[in-house]
Amino acid sequence: MANPQVEQSQVLPEYGPVTKADLRKAAWRHNLTLQWSWNYERMQALGYMWSILPILQRISKTKEELIANMQRHMVFYNTNPAVGSPIIFGATCALEEKGQGEVGDSLKIALMGPFAGIGDTIQAILLRPMVAVLAASLAMDGSMAGPLIMFIFGLCWFALKFPQFYWGYNQGVNLVTTVAGGALEKITEGATIMGLVVVGGFIPSIMASVTTPIKFVKQVTVDGQLTEKVVELQPALDSILPYMIPLLIVGFAYWLVKKRHQSPIKVLLWLTILAFVCSYLGIL
């Protein structure tokens, strides 16, 4: 595409070798602002283009080249911004630097799907529930440590985007073979299993306060005398299966979503009705 008859005066001032500072700038742009201009039409496209712009300015000799390079990156792009996108972005930066921008374009398209899958799994199934439940249980006890822990995790999650970027940069085009090697499936499966153990333990611990106040008054004979004894239902339930009521409620909600295909909003409505009725009848 480069025009050999370009006059020296038309060469853009930024044209030159990509420096370490350029890479750092691109990484910061990507990691801090990728989705600031997120929109329905092309989602993260503009954020991606603006982030890689420092590299494009280095590799584009003329204004026409720069425009063409920028336009290549204005196409639809969407993946997980925290896990995955920094890797893809790093690899594309390396390819642009080597003059293999078109390879980078196809790499973007090939990898945004798989990385969205793994990134969303790690974040939505494992990391977020784990951190959120830990933090929420501390917060319920009135401790500022809850939000603080969550904030710190957020900071770590942000910081981790930088090693991802440089790893992707060093992998370059090899990234595709690495991804095809089954590493992603392994990570996803591991994250799913860990997430399930955590959720299994967190459901009873978070919902432990959901108990029944029902009491029975029972006539019993103690030493030949007839007395009234108050029997609470909750300990009896606990001896059958601890945390039975929370499990039943989660099971009910799960059934609504999974088997009845109800939307989250409708499930919310059903749970509210259930809580209102049970509260009114004195069951909960």
Binding site: T33, W38, A275
Partner: protein
């Protein structure tokens, strides 16, 4: 006694909402969570415990809600700000705060869609700037893309906190006692929604024993949460290791 918020508090909370949503777009996933934003709001309006409780309830409710591919989910961040701000008013309390936070989070989905749609104009502006090779204009189109996102949170929070305190107090104070109790019970039941949605995202049929192990660890062995998280890591690594052994031989 009716206590309302001045324009200053309304402005500060609106800025919190703006910053939180833009943070979520860029820097990190956790800084806009209802838990953090609720705590911050609690600090600002002088009732930290309320902010923590409302934030924690909303965060737990939202487990398993994820913006896959840019889908819209209830805006629990804004819900936490409004619920905490109104709940801190005399006579409103936790129950009243929750009764505001959850519907507010649901209503805000409409504005989320508006924000996501409006930003489309910005990428068309950027297309033009790119065609002209105008790097500076492209930069502005991108950076200002945060405006529709931020303003769709800023404006409703500002107006609601500034003007809504009186009507909200009047409405909540008129509620009968057993209705308030029902709202409280609802609040303790709502995390079930989060957990249920989370479970539907997981291959429960194939991996249910792992959830059972987690349950046993807490319900029978009384392992604290950090212990459960550590056990989860160990179990995950062991599983993958065993799987590899079987695949190799």
């Amino acid at each position: 006694m009716t206590l309302t918020y001045g324009i200053g508090i309304a402005l500060i909370l609106a800025i919190v909402a703006y910053v939180a949503v833009v943070m979520n777009l860029g820097a990190s996933v956790f800084w806009h969570e209802a838990l953090i934003v609720g705590a911050v709001t609690g600090l600002i309006v002088g009732d930290v415990k309320l902010g923590l409780t409302i934030g924690a309830t909303l965060t737990l409710m939202s487990l398993g809600m994820w913006t896959y591919g840019g889908a819209t989910i209830p805006d629990f961040m804004t819900g936490a700000i409004l619920g905490t701000a109104f709940g801190a008013l005399p006579g409103v309390g936790l129950e009243g705060g929750l009764a505001i936070a959850v519907p507010a989070a649901l209503l805000m989905t409409q504005l989320d869609i508006l924000g996501r749609a409006t930003t489309t104009l910005f990428i068309h502006g950027a297309d033009k700037a790119v065609a002209e090779g105008n790097v500076r204009a492209v930069t502005w189109w991108h950076l200002l893309g945060q405006l529709p996102w931020g303003l769709t949170r800023f404006v409703p929070v500002f107006l609601a906190v500034w003007l809504g305190a009186g009507p909200v107090q009047a409405a909540i104070n008129g509620m009968p006692e057993n209705l308030m109790r029902a709202i409280k019970v609802t609040g303790s039941v709502l995390p079930a929604l989060g957990f249920a949605l989370l479970l539907t995202m997981m291959p429960l049929k194939k991996y249910w024993p792992f959830a059972l192990i987690g349950f046993i660890l807490f319900a029978y062995l009384k392992v604290p949460m950090i212990g459960i998280a550590l056990a989860a890591v160990a179990i995950g690594v062991i599983y993958l290791g065993l799987k590899e052994v079987r695949a190799n031989g």
